[in-house]
């Protein structure tokens, strides 16, 4: 049998390079999984005493569930307001920059909006309670006077403006740049081919956007909103500073409600023993909420896979 000349020519050192590099890439991925697993284990261990404690010893005296569900709902409300405000505006801004603004203006404008992402949350908090909250008070009064029959706007309106709605708006401002910058990048990548196909069929600009741009960008938009949601759910300091907290109430313009992240931040410094474990259990619940929301988002993206723009 003759030897294969191709085998002898192969350099073993080169192959090693490939092995090392792919190994490193794999290791990095696994490291992330391990870290996340470690975070989960850490949360679980620290939270465990809460689940075995006498319900009377939990804050509120009625067990962990009674303690956590109002702030879970508060968290969801805050995040929902944030997304309800930031998603349409964020997508609007992204579309404005990608498809409406003159090219020369669009770049700097995008940069300006991205800047919002860089402002520390303490500053958002301070701005929220010093500037935004007082500015919203007349609006709240108007709402309670004219739409007070809706439980969401039931009066009397807060005199300081430090309400759930304000906190939600501050969160919206904080997630706006995340949604905007990601969806803008995706809108810009819409294949020219498809945009021109729509225009050539006689579509108006808006119709071109709905037929070519939005369907193409849908999975990306969902990811962008999820990233924004992540920040809205996990934001601590801004909510802690802006919200005048309290029990769960339907009205968004009165003092009340609380979010998990703010609950942790506000009480962590003075917490010890069981209280500390309770707060960490609250963190675990937040973690689970994120997990579920992400699973749902993945599901939505996967369902449309056959018709995705990715080919």
């Amino acid at each position: 049998m003759t030897t294969n000349a191709l085998t002898s020519k192969s350099s073993t050192s080169g192959r090693a390079g490939d092995k090392i590099f792919s190994g490193a890439a794999l290791a990095a991925g696994v490291l992330i999984l391990i870290t996340l697993f470690a975070v989960a284990v850490f949360l679980l261990i620290q939270a465990l005493p809460t689940f075995f404690a006498d319900p009377a010893e939990i804050s509120g005296g009625q067990g962990f569930f009674a303690y956590i569900w109002p702030i879970v709902i508060g968290t969801v409300i805050a995040a929902a307001i944030a997304l309800a405000v930031a998603t349409p505006i964020g997508l609007g801004v992204a579309l404005f920059i990608s498809h409406f603004a003159p090219r020369k203006v669009a770049g700097p404008l995008g940069y300006l909006i991205d800047l919002l992402a860089a402002i520390p949350s303490v500053i958002y908090g301070a701005w929220g309670y010093m500037v935004l909250a007082p500015a919203l008070v007349p609006g709240f009064e108007w709402l309670s006077k004219n739409l007070g029959f809706i439980p969401l706007f039931e009066g009397p309106a807060s005199q300081t403006g430090k309400t759930m709605l304000t906190a939600g708006i501050v969160l919206a401002v904080m997630v706006l740049p995340i949604i905007t910058s990601l969806s803008r990048e995706i809108f810009l990548q819409t294949p020219k081919l498809h945009e021109e196909a729509a225009l050539a069929l006689g579509a108006t600009r808006w119709e071109m956007i709905t037929t070519a741009v939005i369907p193409f960008a849908r999975p990306g938009i969902i990811s962008a909103v999820m990233l924004g949601l992540g920040r809205a759910l996990g934001e601590t300091m801004a909510v802690a500073l802006v919200l005048s907290t309290g029990n769960l109430i339907p009205s968004l313009i009165k003092t009340g409600n609380q979010t998990i992240a703010a609950e942790i931040a506000l009480n962590f410094p003075e917490a010890f023993g069981l209280r500390l474990s309770e707060l960490i259990a609250a963190g675990l619940v937040l973690f689970l909420i994120t997990l579920i929301v992400n699973m749902i988002a993945r599901g939505i993206i996967a369902r449309h896979k056959e018709f995705s723009g990715a080919n």
């Binding site: 890439a25 870290t35 975070v39 409406f100 402002i119 935004l132 990548q189 992540g230």
Partner: protein, 361 residues
């Protein structure tokens, strides 16, 4: 005269939209005056009236489709203007409150030895504020640098795994999913985790810069992975194939062809990730402590960063009786932080433009 252009049938003349705008402003002013004038109400009423009037008139004259197009166009413009309001307000607030505090003393001095008594004295004598944010700037730079050094390689390698090696594998699906979940970790939890982790290794309450950097990495990595992944995905496969076909090894192809092609997107993704964590307060408090003097060593002793500096200056002013110096320091530090991120952004753009694929003839 020629016959009328049949293609131009039923189109609103250009001036019409300006007329509608003027009309809306007048009516808006009238209504808001009736209901007790305020600038906000005036703007809101005018905008709503304009939106409705312009859409309806366009619909009537040009048809439903053009009307819809007009409505959405104005809505998108409106979204943009609405987004600018908080941006302008936040920036104005920071500038107005922060600018008076920015001077060379503030930039280049720490808070070492600055006590409430000193603040009381400067206020009483009307002297300029003493004490600055230099130590916090150093802390911010060092901690962010270390966080970047940790998360960028890990994040980029993970993205490389996902895009280049892991396609379709269960592990890569798991990583993608959990990276998304990771974006939802509240920052305080990341801090507590890092503190507990190092506590296990180095003993209780081992607070120092590197612990904070690890905490920030937990927050940064998902953003780095996400953005790098997206950017690597849009590198055309033909470039990889071209490289393979030249007999170039995979790892060299990735390092020398794929990543350079995507570098501009990656750079802005990393910048976004840095911007995301550079303003974090809660995780730093439990991992790096707080210091008033300069500490250049992330492996020993406590450290302040600009956000923790701001946080404590606002929440526990140096002198409770005279909080103005502390408030001034806090806003000046906020302004400084924003400027730092802006500079970072510019640098990233520069890097990106140097490496970016060259276009044009």
């Amino acid at each position: 005269m020629r016959k009328r252009n049949s293609l131009a049938k039923g189109k609103l003349p250009k001036w019409a939209i300006w007329a509608i705008a003027a009309g809306s402003i007048i009516i808006g002013a009238a209504i808001s005056t009736l209901t007790g004038f305020s600038v906000a109400a005036f703007a809101i009423y005018s905008a709503i009236i304009f939106l409705i009037a312009a859409s309806v008139i366009t619909t009537v004259v040009e048809g439903k489709r053009r009307g819809k197009n007009a409505m959405w166009t104005y809505l998108i413009y409106a979204a943009f203007i609405v987004a600018l309001i908080p941006l302008a307000s936040v920036l104005y607030t920071v500038l107005q409150k922060g600018l008076p505090g920015i001077n060379s003393h503030f930039l280049f001095s720490s808070m070492n030895g600055v006590t409430g008594a000193i603040d009381n004295q400067t206020v009483a004598n009307g002297e300029p504020v003493i004490g600055g944010a230099y130590h916090a700037v150093i802390g911010t730079l060092l901690i962010t640098l270390w966080a970047t050094l940790i998360s960028v390689p890990v994040g980029m390698l993970t993205a490389v795994y996902l895009v280049e090696y892991g396609q379709g594998k269960a592990l890569s699906k798991a990583i993608t999913f959990f990276v998304d979940v990771m974006t939802g970790i509240p920052s305080i939890v990341a801090g507590l985790f890092a503190a507990a982790f190092f506590g296990m290794i180095l003993g209780p309450n081992a607070r120092m810069g590197i612990v904070a950097a690890v905490a920030l990495s937990v927050l940064m990595i998902p953003t780095v992975v996400r953005s790098t992944e997206e950017m690597l995905k849009i590198v055309p496969n033909e470039l990889r194939e071209a490289s393979f076909a030249l007999g170039v090894r995979r790892w060299r192809t990735i390092l020398k062809v794929v990543i350079p092609t995507a570098i501009s997107g990656i750079a802005s993704g990393v910048t976004l990730a840095i911007a995301r964590v550079i303003g974090e307060t809660a995780p730093i408090l439990v991992t790096a402590g707080i210091a008033s003097q300069i500490n250049m060593n992330v492996f020993a002793n406590w450290m302040s960063t600009l956000p923790t500096f701001i946080y404590y200056q606002i929440l526990t002013p140096t002198s409770p009786t005279n909080i103005d110096p502390s408030v001034q320091r806090a806003w000046a530090a906020a302004l400084l932080l924003i400027l730092m991120v802006m500079a970072l952004n510019l640098i990233a753009r520069l890097v990106a433009s140097i490496f970016a694929p060259k276009k044009g003839r």
